[in-house]
Symmetry: C2
Subunit: 470 residues, 2 copies
């Protein structure tokens, strides 16, 4: 019996794909940047099946590439081009919500649940699953946790990591680490779950998670604000935090990004004329009906304009206006793609260092690549800015030329972030695309400890090879 | 040169204690339950000194027991009675606050900083360092992180773990893992810090931490509420969460505990007559001046009384009254000690399972030890109840008799918690006192992964031997 036939025995023939046409979609990432050659795609529908697949793959000497919604930006869910013989293990059939407990403010979901479905199940129970980002309609819980996804609300409720109460993981040797407990305090030994969260499937396969829920947000107020500079935006951020309003999102966007959204967006309306160099999108929330949310926001923005931290502001007057503001933000990446090819980064620095980071990055990049168009958009409240460089108009037909021309851009920007005490990988993870950045920028002692842990838990290097560690 | 003389060379003779009288205080925990025989006490005052001490201790074959404020309840900071030759490495001289950045909402503190000093430094910058528990005037940052301390505000801001942005750690081989970055998002490889947080010094020594700060709380409202049952308390908790008020503490206390506090407390005043079987202490907060906090609390409690979730309530009318309520809670452990010897536990269950946990524990314990007096007090909002059994009046002179009579109490209560998907060690850690509970209740796969990690990072077992892992 071939190795794949043995795996088909576990999951059933219809859940074990080997025909080239069936395997092809799993062999490439959605941007088309990474392409591998898996021997097959296996779709277990239970934790026991995952465990048995892992054991049989080990016997057959096959590496395992776990995959979820495959919306990642770093090629983490695709086998590397010249990697060892491997299968893609897709969690998509493990899509049950095992438990929703409103009194416990928790939900237990399998790895293959689409993030939006978990949000909906929580909402139906009168609760909020607070993580939110553009790909939530496709991304799955397993991928969200394996990459410790961020998004626009981490400012208030944390990254994916902070939402986890317990995990169920299949280890590289096929044993099940059943730590799927809904416990908010547990100091019984090492916090193993945090190795698998953000571990990108290189230490084990997350099969289910117990997740925190919040009380439903009853009201939000949202503003689109023109600010003269990143430093002014930082002051506005401090003002909002100090005001005592519950700030749940604070995004900073360069005018170029808003122009790009206005140019390519479908059905988007800019709330203000694009006459300011920078814009902020901010949202405050309240669950209690007696909190005068609108007045709080108006007062705060009035004071900010008086203090010179803002020059103009538009507060959403309806849910449609509010959704329009967030649609600008969420559609921006797609609009940017329509504008043309870009080299991009995913940096984080201390929140107070964002203005300095942007000043240095803009100065050095515009000096070295004056023909490029700088994009800068991101989560100021987390210090996480995506700083990119768009191909000059007309060059888009020759991407390799732009790639060659911008050699050094990514490492320059990452270097500036790291020199300010920051990170070259804030929320997207490492996958295949940032392994060279790990080699260049990651603390060598940290890297060595990571390798020690990888070797101890996955001595044969069978789990998602060619990812994370260079 | 002796090993201790070599260490004195590193830290200076006055910071290397070897005389029996000088060493004695470090050889025993504050409860007097654990006593070891360290060869000496070494007090480095810099990260470099810690690293050099670790290297020289390794050469000399000495184990290292890291120590901070030594307020732990589990004997974690004291060498075990029959352990290997060891030194106590006290971080007390590493007590500098390296940086406070209000715009970044962060503070960088060395391990030896007393927790209260960090709270004060944050307050002086207009910020809140939110962790709070009884021992904060003595406990140090390193111990707080090594044990992932909890307290009464984890409900809102998490355990110590959730407050960490970055860590500096000296590894068992003396290398420094410098990850002291103030970055809120960082997905560059495995989240190593979480191994050391809650690792109780068995994988390395935390020397400094970058910690999150919050906007200062401008106002709080606090209530002492009589509730008919734990289930009613749970409903009140849900009501408070759903109301949209910012709930920052929610404690549940059995009447017996309040009677004990009333009997032994100094200067405590009970806000209500002790006629109810259970009491809740709750606090809501607001940083924004326009939030009608008092009205929110009054309305919520009025509705709760109408719904039968509460029978009476006293809202603090002044800061003195508010402090009195929290003093009842914080002084309770000392009052309980005055009442007599007790066997205690530190369990957590899902929040919604607290009533079931208490019902089962009370039924089984009162049946098996009818002469004992049951205490139950804890953080209902986290599912973390300290369930204990006080010696009967008159028996206190014969502690060994009560210890013998209550054999099986701890494992019975822990077993009930674990069977409800809970933990036998919620916030105090394992140290020496709960290693038998680890052996009895911890998932064996989790234990095996912990041992693999311990062996990989500390192959000679030099870091805090005899702790955490059985």
């Amino acid at each position: 019996m071939t190795a794949l036939a043995s795996l088909a025995e576990v999951v059933g023939p219809s859940a074990c794909l080997t025909a080239a046409d069936d395997v092809a979609p799993y062999a490439v990432d959605w941007r088309g940047a990474y392409k591998g050659t898996p021997s097959g795609v296996v779709k277990p529908n239970s934790t026991e099946q995952v465990a048995e697949v892992v054991r049989r793959a080990a016997t057959a000497g096959l590496a395992i590439v776990p995959a979820g919604g495959r919306t990642g930006l770093c090629g983490g869910a695709v086998p590397p081009a010249n990697g060892p013989a491997s299968i893609v293990l897709s969690l998509e059939r493990m899509n049950r919500i095992r438990n929703v407990d409103p009194r416990d403010f928790s939900i237990v979901a399998e790895a293959g649940c689409v993030v939006q479905n978990v949000q909906q199940a929580a909402a139906e129970a009168g609760r909020l699953f607070p993580i939110q980002w553009g790909a939530q309609g496709t991304a799955q819980i397993g991928g969200m946790l394996s990459t410790n996804a961020g998004g626009i609300r981490t400012l208030r409720w944390g990254n994916a990591r902070e939402l986890v109460l317990g995990l169920e993981v299949v280890l590289p040797d096929g044993r099940v680490l059943d730590d799927l407990r809904r416990v908010r305090k547990d100091n019984s030994g090492y916090a193993l779950r945090h190795l698998f969260i953000g571990g990108e499937g290189t230490l084990g396969i997350i099969t289910a998670a117990a997740l925190r829920l919040q009380p439903a947000l009853k009201r939000v107020e949202t503003a689109f604000v023109a600010v003269p500079s990143p430093d002014a935006a930082l002051s506005l951020f401090g003002r909002a935090m100090e005001s005592g309003a519950e700030l749940i999102a604070f995004e900073l966007c360069a005018r170029y990004c808003m122009e790009t959204a206005a140019k390519h967006g479908v059905g988007l309306r800019m709330p203000l004329p694009l006459e300011s160099p920078w814009y902020v999108m901010m949202e405050i929330a309240a669950a209690h009906p007696s909190v005068p949310l609108r007045e709080m926001l108006e007062e705060m923005l009035g004071q900010a304009i008086e203090a010179g931290e803002a020059t103009d502001a538009s507060i959403a007057d309806s849910e449609a206006q509010r959704l329009n503001i967030w649609k600008i933000r969420e559609d921006y990446p797609e609009c940017a793609r329509r504008e043309g090819f870009a080299i991009n980064t995913d940096t984080a620095v201390p929140v107070s260092a964002v203005p300095q980071f942007l000043e240095r990055a803009i100065a050095e990049v515009s000096k070295r690549w004056p023909q490029g168009r700088i994009s800068a958009i991101g989560h100021l409240g987390d210090g996480n800015i995506h700083f990119g460089l768009h191909v000059p108009p007309g060059w888009d037909d020759d991407r390799p030329k732009w790639v060659a021309a911008t050699e050094g851009f990514e490492s320059l920007v990452n270097e500036i972030a790291v020199s300010l005490g920051g990170s070259f990988s804030a929320e997207h993870g490492i996958g295949q695309s940032k392994r060279h950045a790990m080699a260049a920028h990651k603390n060598p002692v940290a890297m060595d400890v990571m390798r020690t842990i990888k070797d101890a838990l996955d001595p044969d290097g069978r789990m998602n090879p060619g990812k994370v560690l260079p």
